[in-house]
Symmetry: D2
Subunit: 282 residues, 4 copies
């Protein structure tokens, strides 16, 4: 495994750069040092950056505001942010008849239900006889785990409705030292009890890459996949998904995969990035 | 699938009858009607009854008291109750050096740590720098799910200690209509995030049957497995485990497996009981 | 579950109809009776038909010839056939440097390696010290299972190369009464031993639907997903994938899902088609 | 992780020593150098040795003969050999009515069916309408993989009979550099297609330890588990199983777990042996 000296040199050879959020652009304390400067330089050199994130805890607009630099202003326009929540929202809009959609997650995550034209209902407010049209697992916060996860199980035993998982991650970094359990783990647990098949959105599934690539094509219909680079910190989501979608991939060592583990993990999993860099700030 | 008319007739042909607790002897509202009478009659006819239960929420003594009939008194002596918690306790006693053992569960479940000679510590009281000697998942109640399940994950990322799961069930009946998530499901979720191998105790693993059979042998060293019948309401635990242990098995339709599903499930799983009865009260 | 009387009436309301091959258009004895007539009528009524199949055993051209009716001639043009092998081929072309690609499958399946510009090498001809650039699992026939599946395992222990699975199905119908193990099951077994992450192509993954939809858009760039219907006989591939992709889905009962099981399976899995028909010949 | 200098010193403190076969006593080229001497010395010092092996390819008698040293004669008496095949045989004897039992494996593996009083029938000789009483997966050799594994799948779709897996290993060493796929992997593949629940025998399940411990108790009824040591080369079978059974465990680095990986794997899995030695010849 060779660690490339300069991320900027590699990335600027691509017309479009897809970036994961956590572990690439930011960590638990805010934006990764030097990331803002890299985004600016990539823009100056003619590479368009898009954020591709397994996150349905808040709207793309709220996400965009978190990349607003005090000096340089908005670093990623809202139209360049693609979240797994947007795919879940598309699914609701196209496949679930307008009506009540129960959800677990923070109130801000209900954006993805409202934007699909449905009425969001926190699962805590679902009485046993409430007919719902779907259940969406959006985020790991904003509800009481004991009562509301149990309530999900019993709702799904009574009503045969689609269950949407808007973030497939198992955990995410909560601080320098700790992780938090993500809603993808809760979904796996509920599915294991209920034995129904949930519908999941997010990397490594290629659907989110297709969604982003379609945006790219509306901007420049002649773009080929060879002009796109996926940058991520996680082999099983960012790199596996990017590889499967057919674009080049670059692993950064500033998040889930640390320098001391990278070579062992690449070998153990067989998930092979095209490039490895310490971080995007190089 | 033939449903036998009389449980009593079949069971009384066995010298020893092993019975699951939930769905066989009791349900969410208390003892199943007629179960007490059946226990008494089996005893009169010379069959000894043992309770074999995936339950580590309280001590065998507390369990025995729940089978105390207002008129007939104690129905199952405490020495005839074998819980998965007792196997977990044995493991702690034989394999973990005396010290602090973190746990999730109600205070009453800590019995299984204390009886092994260890000091139980609710996981909520484990500071990050607390060295522990093991973590035991005992019960789904008695702690705050959000903070304490996340705490388990982070404890196990820092310390390489044995993790014991004292009840492998995924869910259990909480009322006529609802189930509750059991600690076995929480264990699977944490293991999926941590990727370590937990040590599980409970049916269908044959270890709990061996434990009970050893008790039987101390009573009558010449007992053969042909003289033992396992009675349960769940194919994947009671019947699969009893079959694998090499004893006859009887499925009752008073709990997890209902009459309308029994034939389909037996066919779909390939788990074949020797007998099927409506309940033990027949 | 309501079984619609006329497939033709429902399908002709869609501008584009995606059809699975096995169990929908044909079975083990050839084309399903009446299927040819339905394809012709749909064409007359202005619906374009595409075949979307988890099959990498032969080229799209060979597949198209199998839908050639003695009287009506070619029923599905080769450009309307999308196989999971084509996605695997795209992956090889875009992500694997030109060179030798080992494979398991019939010689005809090697088409998907050659069309990507690589040199196919039957795994039986891979000496231990042969450097390869990828391994592709294409088909369950055309090789010696014992020696060649074992050879795959040992090749992958020595060389860290991408492994591509060009058909994710577990089994397929081989006759009226029997099934055959598909290469997807062999892939799962090898992956379980090697513990590396393989790259899989085929339904229910939405990538194959995206591939087909892109073809549709080149024909009519204004097509919306509402104008597309997916028709399949398998809940876990055709219906789940179509639902996730956001198009309407129709289950036929002429293949994997039989009328006597359909309602139970839809309920058990929670995979909900928009429509159910006996077959496409209605 | 500390590697102990002398296996003999540690093991001779135990009254009974349980040893895995492959990777501990022998490897692909025969007995491990120095293993015979260690067995002899342990015997002289009063420790009784038992072989506990996931192997159903031949009878215990044949296994015993493979430990016959040219100079010292028989190293392990046949009564001290416990194979997973013996547990499968016990299951057949106690739970399956006398009759025809189909099997996959070498003819020598059929010993375990005959010794249970059943008539073994190679699966290749099972016509479609042959009624069988059970199917046993014994060994990965002695049959045609393509036709016979497919035949197993179709047999099990037609007849609802118990399926016994007499060796749970996924693979085993075939030479210095290569592994072979074991019957446990074939069983997992078939079970994944059929979706029935197979009955598995072998480490890490504690049943085989119980079987051996019962033998020990017949020799000396006062033996405690503290006097027993399990020695193995595989964390997930030998060490996990021994730990769960409540006996001390010792990992040797002469087989599946190599010195360069041992510390990483112990940490990654959380499976903790009491001791680690280079081999038993120390």
């Amino acid at each position: 495994m060779r660690i490339e000296a300069s991320f900027l040199e590699i990335a600027s050879a691509y017309r479009f750069v897809f970036l994961d959020a956590y572990g690439v652009l930011k960590n638990s304390t805010g934006m990764i040092q030097g990331a803002a400067e890299t985004l600016l330089k990539l823009g100056e050199q003619g590479s368009d950056c898009y954020v591709i994130t397994n996150d349905a805890s808040r709207s793309p607009g709220q996400m965009a505001r978190s990349y607003c630099h005090p000096r340089y202003g908005e670093l990623v326009p809202v139209e360049h942010i693609i979240s797994s929540g947007m795919l879940a929202s598309d699914f609701l809009a196209s496949k679930v008849r307008p009506g009540r959609v129960a959800y677990v997650g923070k109130p801000s995550s209900a954006y993805y239900i409202e934007s699909a034209g449905h009425t969001p209902l926190p699962v805590a407010q679902c009485a046993d006889d409430h007919a719902i049209d779907a259940l969406v697992l959006l985020d790991d916060e904003g509800f009481d785990w004991f009562s509301d996860i149990n309530r999900c199980v019993n709702l799904l035993r009574r009503q045969n409705v689609p269950v949407v998982v808007a973030n497939t991650d198992l955990s995410y970094p909560a601080s320098e030292t700790d992780v938090s359990i993500a809603v993808g783990s809760l979904a796996n647990m509920i599915e294991g009890i209920i034995q129904k098949t949930f519908i999941r959105f997010g990397k490594p599934d290629t659907q989110i890459f297709d969604f982003a690539y379609d945006l790219v094509l509306t901007r420049d219909p002649l773009t080929s996949k060879k002009q796109v680079l996926m940058v991520g910190d996680t082999l099983h989501t960012d790199i596996l998904g990017g590889n499967k979608f057919g674009i080049d991939t670059l692993l950064v060592l500033s998040g889930n995969t640390q320098e001391r583990d990278a070579e062992v993990r690449i070998h153990a999993t067989g998930i092979l990035p095209n490039f490895v860099c310490a971080s995007i700030a190089t």
